[in-house]
């Protein structure tokens, strides 16, 4: 039951200052372009917030590259647009945070082997909805999403896109409710990422075999039996090991209903 509004609100309000800089090789003007500073919500996706930045930099690149797709990198590491921005920040510079986050903008040499193409925002929406559905299958065997109407799906997406907390949670709370006779989800949608970006997704039940609540420490010992000291980070904070998984999933999931945890 996601009823701890304070936590939800704090998470929703999290924003990151980002400094975009155009790649030096692609500048075609004598004048150096100014870096572009912007505050972006941690829960959003890059294609939703970069329109203005893109317009700004288009003036400084050669005309033949104006139609090609834009992509971003941090310290030579291409950023995947289909992960939330806050998660990307936690993944690549969680340990030594240096704000504002400086990213390089590219218009040429699209790294086809690393990034997916993102021609428009419909692709982002499709990816977002499919991730929610996947999470719902894990939690309620897909029953909640399939009973929702098309306009509910739209409301979820628009709430995220326009940064409207109430609009989004009016629908999302139904996804966070537990169903059936037993309390809690069937499984917890959770993805654990290593430093090098490899993803680890397993079927994780929110309860132990004896029916008691499973806490994070137990999950860590299941996932990393050979390591003793493992800490997990999400939303820019370290999660206390005694946090119950059910509560964690209900309150600290990203809008796509997944827990994205980084090992540190």
């Amino acid at each position: 039951m996601a009823n701890d509004r304070e936590v939800l609100r704090e998470i929703w309000d999290g924003k990151l200052p980002i400094c975009f800089q155009l790649d030096q090789e692609e500048i075609m003007e004598i004048q150096q372009p100014d870096p572009f500073y912007v505050m972006v919500p941690r829960l959003s996706y890059f294609p939703l917030v970069t329109d203005k930045m893109k317009r700004h930099f288009l003036r400084y690149i050669s005309q033949e590259n104006a139609d090609s797709e834009m992509w971003l990198d941090y310290n030579g590491q291409p950023l995947k647009w289909h992960y939330p921005i806050g998660f990307l920040y936690d993944l690549y510079c969680g340990s030594d945070s240096q704000l504002p986050w400086t990213l390089t903008v590219h218009f040429t040499k699209f790294p086809e082997t690393i990034l997916l193409r993102c021609p428009n925002k419909d692709v982002v929406e499709a990816h977002f909805m499919s991730t929610i559905k996947e999470a719902d299958v894990l939690k309620h065997r897909g029953q909640v999403m399939s009973t929702m109407q098309k306009k509910d799906h739209n409301q979820l997406w628009l709430g995220l896109q326009n940064d409207k907390f109430d609009q989004f949670w009016a629908i999302n709370r139904r996804l966070m409710e537990s169903h059936g006779e037993n309390e809690g989800f069937k499984h917890v949608p959770i993805r654990v990422y290593s430093d090098d970006g490899t993803c680890n997704q397993r079927l994780v039940s929110p309860k132990n075999n004896d029916g008691s609540r499973k806490v994070l420490q137990q999950l860590i010992s299941e996932l990393f039996p050979d390591k003793i000291e493992v800490k997990l980070r999400t939303h820019g904070i370290m999660i206390p090991p005694d946090t119950p998984l059910q509560w964690l999933s209900e309150h600290m999931s990203y809008p796509d209903n997944f827990l994205h945890l980084c090992v540190c």
Binding site: N3, D4, E6, V7, E10, I11, D13, G14, K15, L16, P17, D34, F36, Y37, V38, M39, S97, L99, P100, H235, G236, I237, M238, I239, P240, D242, T243, P244, W247, M252
Partner: protein, 367 residues
């Protein structure tokens, strides 16, 4: 509401995170973005103003040039321009003069050529007039010729008409002569008929008074058969039975007369001379019969035909073959008028033909 250490820790961490990441930069970034926008708008404005300024300066320099530039300077410029224009005109005129001179030369050459052609044409004209004169003289000649010929033609036509008239009169004469001739012929025929009657009378007379036992056959092939002669024959036969021995005067040849005169018994004379000989049929000739009226001979042969022969002239002419028999014809006979002919053949049938159109009329079989 679930509580505990972990929740407090999370809340605290989140709050500090937001303070560190968001609150610290919120204002600065917002200010920066505002400044950014301002700078952009100012840049655009500046650009527009520069453009405007440039335009104004351009127009002003133009107006300055047009207004205040030294009048004399201007005049000199205008004059220079005029001079330039004049010079250009001059050069163009020179060029034109050269062109016209060239044209004159070419035109002169053309005139020469035209004169030459004119002379040639004059010569041709004179030749042609001579030709015309000679042709006129010829025409005169031909006209006179024609007049003469017309005169001649007239004369000939007159002659022709005269001859035509003569011809028609001669034709009239001819027609008259023919009419006369026809009437004469008719008359002659009449006389001939009278002669024949007379002859017949004489013959009758003679036969009545002649020796009934005599059997006359004219060697010329003429045998007079007829109803009268049949009667005469019967009478003669009757008389012969009576046994009168006297005979008076033969109508045949003088030889027979002598024999008749000297021998007082019945005499039979065999034909001694063949008058005519012809091949009538392909095969045997089975029957021969004279027509009772005309001088026509009918023969029946083994080639299944009955043939008619005209004996009126010195030669034999075929009058036709009557066909229809399926076997050889064994006997033929005429009826008394000579119009029909009957033939009996070996196919057990008798057939009757008409002599005139030579067609089969009756065919009967008797078994």
């Amino acid at each position: 509401m679930e509580g505990g250490q972990w929740r407090n820790s999370i809340i605290n961490q989140l709050q500090s995170r937001n303070k560190r990441e968001t609150a610290a930069f919120q204002d600065i970034i917002a200010f920066q973005s505002r400044l950014f926008d301002n700078v952009n708008t100012l840049k655009n404005e500046n650009l527009q103003l520069q453009l405007l300024n440039e335009r104004i300066r351009y127009t002003s320099t133009e107006s300055v040039l047009s207004n205040t530039g030294g009048a004399s300077n201007e005049r000199i410029q205008a004059l220079e321009q005029k001079i330039l224009a004049q010079q250009e005109e001059l050069t163009s005129l020179h060029r034109r003069r050269g062109e016209s001179a060239q044209q004159i030369i070419t035109l002169n050459a053309k005139v020469h050529e035209q004169e030459k052609s004119l002379q040639a044409k004059d010569i041709i004209i004179s030749e042609n007039t001579a030709l015309i004169a000679s042709l006129r003289a010829e025409i005169q000649l031909y006209e006179t010729n024609m007049a003469e010929l017309q005169g001649l033609n007239q004369v000939i036509r007159d002659e022709y008409q005269a001859l035509q008239i003569a011809l028609s009169s001669v034709e009239d004469k001819l027609r008259k002569a023919q009419d006369e001739n026809r009437s004469l012929v008719e008359r002659l025929i009449k006389y001939k008929a009278k002669d024949a009657d007379k002859m017949n009378e004489e013959n009758e007379h003679f036969l009545k008074s002649s020796n009934p036992t005599a059997f006359f056959i004219n060697t010329f092939g003429r045998v007079s058969f007829g109803k009268k002669s049949d009667k005469v024959r019967k009478e003669l036969e009757d008389a012969a039975r009576e046994g009168s021995s006297r005979s008076s005067g033969g109508s045949g040849g003088s030889n027979e007369e002598k024999i008749m005169d000297t021998i007082h018994y019945y005499t039979s004379i065999l034909p001694t001379k063949v008058s005519l000989r012809f091949d009538a049929h392909d095969g045997e000739v089975n029957a021969v019969k004279w027509s009772p009226t005309d001088r026509i001979l009918a023969t029946g042969g083994a080639d299944r035909k009955v043939k008619l022969w005209d004996m009126s002239k010195s030669v034999v002419e075929s009058r036709g073959a009557l066909v229809g028999s399926n076997a050889g014809v064994m006997s033929v006979d005429f009826d008394s008028t000579g119009a029909y002919i009957v033939g009996a053949s070996n196919d057990f049938a008798s057939r009757v033909w008409t002599v005139g159109d030579q067609r089969l009329r009756v065919s009967r079989k008797y078994y």
